[in-house]
Symmetry: C2
Subunit: 247 residues, 2 copies
């Protein structure tokens, strides 16, 4: 399993991913799921992959080769065009591998979050489906998730607002959303990659990687649990019926 | 779908359930999932049901008839014995209905949370599986959930401690856990039943039911989102690498 998410606010993007890959419970490995393609000052792309590891690798290889040849993502004028490039690569790999996978009852499963910016257009965030079509993030629900999405969603739903949330706050939400998921699903695990992209950077300036025993991650987790308990205490008590009602 | 949960702390129990039932998306209804069997001063049982509505109704009918005849739950000396009674009723219904269901590819699906107290023994909390065997709550993870359990779990994991959490706090956690779930899954919906049982009550004294437009529920939700944002701001900022690292 995997958990990756991207957040878009008025001032930029935050992207985060775990690093656990597994085929069954007895074949567990660590693999980075955050990948970047950067032409400093010109374009930044961050890809988060969820699904078949071999499939994601093939897509990344194709996109990298195209870039090196000055094509594909190297030519995209907007994030929408970039999302279409990624979708085309997904469809290409689907053509190569799907029939062989399905013969053995393995679904063609690959979801990719693409965030970034091309000079002259705004930062943006897409989810590319296994079918290759791109979903655009919305201001009403300004985040996208792939993989084990349920545990980490309520904190995003409750807290993130496109206009108001700062990127520094969004980074905290992303980290806590991942931490909540790791706590409940052992197939989501560190290292965690966390990247903050500010509108206009056109380079990777703020990235960090948290290992399992990272003291900063442990500190944030402990601090958060204390804050959460304080917040619960600050809520007004539930008013139960004065006369007992029977359920 | 359904979401029900039970919490056990040092001083008692909190139980909560939604009321949405559906067969597909176009057949949606409201149905109470919290059921009580009470002999005041002697024994209190609260059952939360998740799964086939018809199956849960049959189990409740059987348990009620046994009780009226002074048998089953009316004779159980502990919550463990009560959980075994519930499991026996589940197995009885399984014998009646499973073959017919499976002929039409419908699984025999019924999970029941049982909380309560019998005079002379401590309050307790069990989950009865579709196979009829009972799972006991633990002090390390002092809550049990059935149905759509993922969205509402992180807040319980982070906040609830068997020894320290008060019942009033546990009621807030239960309500927020349900509210988080309703927000993300439309097959979990009000009215919400919330019941607080204090050790030794041997009666239902604190129960309430929140409709969709309940002002108390809306107030708690809004207050909680404010508290959450304040808590995020109180967290120390994530320290990114001074020198940009490439993912």
């Amino acid at each position: 399993m995997t958990y990756c998410l991207g957040i878009k606010t008025r001032t930029g993007l935050v992207l985060a991913s775990d690093s656990r890959t597994n085929a069954g419970l007895d074949q567990v490995n660590t693999c980075r799921k955050m990948h970047t393609l950067v032409q400093p000052g010109e374009r930044v792309f961050v890809l988060l992959t969820s699904g078949g590891l071999a499939l994601g690798q093939s897509v990344l290889t194709i996109l990298g080769e195209q870039c090196d040849a000055g094509k594909g993502l190297a030519q995209a004028a907007t994030l929408y065009e970039a999302a279409r490039c990624v979708g085309d690569a997904v469809r290409h790999v689907e053509g190569l591998d799907r029939a062989a996978l399905e013969r053995d009852k393995i679904p063609f499963n690959l979801h990719i979050i693409l965030g970034g910016q091309v000079r002259g257009s705004a930062p943006d965030l897409y989810l590319i489906y296994p079918q290759g079509n791109p979903l655009h993030v919305t201001e009403e629900s300004p985040f996208l998730q792939v993989g084990e999405i349920k545990y980490g969603r309520p904190i995003l739903d409750r807290g993130i607002r496109y206009e108001e949330t700062t990127l520094e706050e969004a980074a905290k939400y992303a980290l806590l959303s991942l931490d909540s998921t790791m706590r409940s699903n052992m197939t989501v695990a560190p290292p965690i990659d966390l990247l903050l992209y500010r509108d206009g950077d056109l380079a990777i300036r703020q990235h960090c990687r948290f290992l399992a025993d990272d003291p900063q991650l442990a500190g944030i987790r402990n601090h958060w649990e204390q804050e959460l308990r304080r917040a619960i205490q600050a809520l007004p008590p539930v008013r139960f019926s004065a006369t007992p009602s029977s359920p």
